[in-house]
């Protein structure tokens, strides 16, 4: 709860108007011209020390690309990423070096992200060596890390193939932890795991945030998991954030039509426990192409509330008179508060 009260705190990470555009070849048309995929198209975010920010939205809306450009796995096309006051979006590779270790990423695929020919010890030790950490005591440090993520320190010399999916995800987490990061971007870290294993990994991440004060950007498609793990939530649609706020605001008082549709579509375990079913809002059509997004509000082609102004003017992501100050919505006609509370 303390993490939602931001008065006077400075964010550890400030993202402003971040854009990641990919030029792609145009197969259609004789000219063979180039087109631009606007995967991330003007995103503002703040991340505070020790908090978790959830990032949700349909497949292809730009979540992974946003995560990758924040930590400079790709160089953003435009915009700013301030990490503790340093501009990361534009500085050169060499100046970036000392910051690399402060921001780490964990991936969805516990299989693909570990080198099968390296032992677990080597996998976790490499980042230590790269950054010159724990000199002369690398092995002890690696074994501490293994214990920290709930693996047997004696398994130092084993290969990834000898571990289960959940254990491999723990190895990936240990590797990220090795360099003592302040921010971890976790991209669908539990999606590939069995249900009975997911909670083990979520609890581990929770302990890390509590004990080590690491801030997380947590990308996931399971809205229940995000609600459990995160302090705040950002909802993305077609390269933009459409709603952004403390999780209890977003989950209990969603104001953007897209957020409402997304939440109403999520299957709910509680329906069988007698919790009244929510009204199902069904979106028609597919997400439009990020090459040629709709004018004005990008959601308007699927929005049941769209008016003429929605095609002409892009709505700004901002708080409203009747919303909590840190609850921002990008919509010309956000849902009114009365009626909303009754629905939950």
């Amino acid at each position: 709860m303390e993490s939602t009260n931001r008065a006077g705190q400075t964010p550890i990470l400030t993202v402003r108007d971040l854009k990641m555009h990919f030029p792609v070849k145009n197969n259609e048309g004789l000219l063979g011209g180039r087109q631009i995929v606007k995967a991330v198209d003007g995103v503002d975010l703040d991340l505070y020390a020790g908090e978790t920010l959830g990032l949700v939205g349909e497949s292809g809306c730009g979540k992974s690309t946003l995560g990758r450009s924040i930590i400079r796995l790709t160089r953003p096309t435009a915009g700013s990423v301030l990490f503790q006051g340093t501009e990361m979006a534009t500085i050169g590779e060499r100046q970036l070096r000392p910051f690399r270790r402060k921001l780490q990423m964990i991936f969805q695929d516990p299989y693909g992200s570990l080198n099968p020919r390296q032992t677990v010890g080597t996998i976790i030790k490499t980042p230590l060596e790269v950054h010159g950490l724990a000199k002369g005591k690398e092995k002890e440090r690696v074994q501490d890390l293994l214990a920290r993520v709930g693996l047997n320190p004696e398994h130092y010399n084993r290969y990834p193939s000898e571990f289960s999916g959940g254990q491999r995800q723990r190895i990936g987490i240990a590797r990220a932890l090795a360099v003592e990061p302040q921010v971890i971007i976790a991209d669908e870290p539990v999606s590939a795991l069995d249900v009975s294993i997911q909670a083990q990994v979520i609890n581990l991440l929770n302990a890390l945030r509590r004990d080590l004060g690491i801030a997380f950007i947590f990308i996931a498609h399971d809205l229940g998991v995000v609600r459990h793990f995160c302090d705040r939530v950002a909802v993305m649609y077609l390269g933009k954030i459409v709603e952004y706020g403390p999780k209890h605001e977003v989950y209990e008082r969603p104001r953007h039509p897209y957020t409402q549709a997304l939440l109403s579509a999520a299957p709910d375990l509680n329906v069988v426990r007698g919790v009244p079913p929510k009204e199902h809002i069904r979106l028609v059509g597919d997400v439009p192409s990020p090459i040629d997004p709709p004018s004005g509000c990008r959601f308007r082609t699927r929005c049941w509330k769209a008016q003429a102004i929605c095609a002409e003017q892009e709505p700004v992501l901002e708080s409203r008179d009747d919303s909590a100050q840190d609850h921002r919505i990008a919509c010309h006609f956000p849902a009114q508060l009365e009626g909303l509370t009754a629905a939950v």
């Binding site: 249900v195 997911q198 909670a199 979520i202 998991v225 997304l262 329906v271 069988v272 079913p277």
Partner: protein, 371 residues
Amino acid sequence: MSAAVNEAAHSAAHTPAGGPRPSRRPSHKGQDEAFLVVDDLSVQFPTEDGLVKAVQNVSYSLPLGRTLAIVGESGSGKSVSSMAIMGLHDPKRTIITGSISLGGEQIVGRSQDDMRKIRGQVASIIFQDPQSSLHPYFTVGWQLREAYREHHQVSKSVAHTRAIEMLDRVGIPHPKRRADQYPFEFSGGMRQRAMIAMALINDPQLIIADEPTTALDVTVQAQILDLLNDLQAEFGSAIIMITHDLAVVAEVADDVMVMYGGRAVEHGTAEQVLVRPNHPYTWGLLQSIPAVSSEQAELYPIKGNPPSLLSLPPGCSFAPRCPYVDRVPDGKCRTDLPELISRSAGDHGLSRCHLSNPDAIFAAEVEPRIA
């Protein structure tokens, strides 16, 4: 604050449920006589590493108009048991025992030719991956048309009209134009719909949906689940929904069978299994999943990993991970396989566990948390 929400969720979990029904769970279901009867089914694969006992002694029955969800983690035997119903196992590499009766016809031991006639017409399967049922080199319309002609002696143009009708039925816009397109020209959700159209084109009475929405966004998932529900209401088909997602189960299932290590460990109505579970594995799953509509302060994971089917432990397969193993006297969990039977008084399903009072044990765990 979260404790209060928790309390509501948990106390609901221990009182007989009433209240409004979720809109997706249909109310017309009758308990007619069973259309599908699976009796003591076992499926084994001889491999280089040994005999894989993928499914052991599974029995259930399903009337028309009803939905059975089969849940369990990957490798628990969900797909293998369902593929046996469709006759999709290679007889040379598979040992199948027990019996499967589908609309009165015996399935086990039938020839491939017989099964080809049954597949599609009496029973259809929808897979997770549209690639596995849609051929990339033929138009969607062509594939639907030929699927129809396999069971109906009609002209191509009649079959084509039927194909377009089905595309329309599953909610694909401009079905006439779409019928002439190739699968790659469809979005993921549309491919899944096309696959459902293909599975339904011959009006099967049993639809097996094997993780039909696992790869899809929640928005598309909701559309597909609604679609299956509408079709069931309209045509009264029986549905087997295979999934690992208990929230999906809660929304669509009448009955639930929980599988672990190739065996059914709990079986009952959705309410019995999800609200008043009697097996520690089911209980463990429910404790480890955060719901979207309530705040959960703490998740309680199941420790350890799922078992290997090559070397299942003697006794109860869940024993190595079970927190209650010592509550059963004489170390019986590690030596005796529990039977799948009714365990306690009151409205509970069948469970495969030696505990004599699981209810009371599970309820006692919740109380200190909400106090």
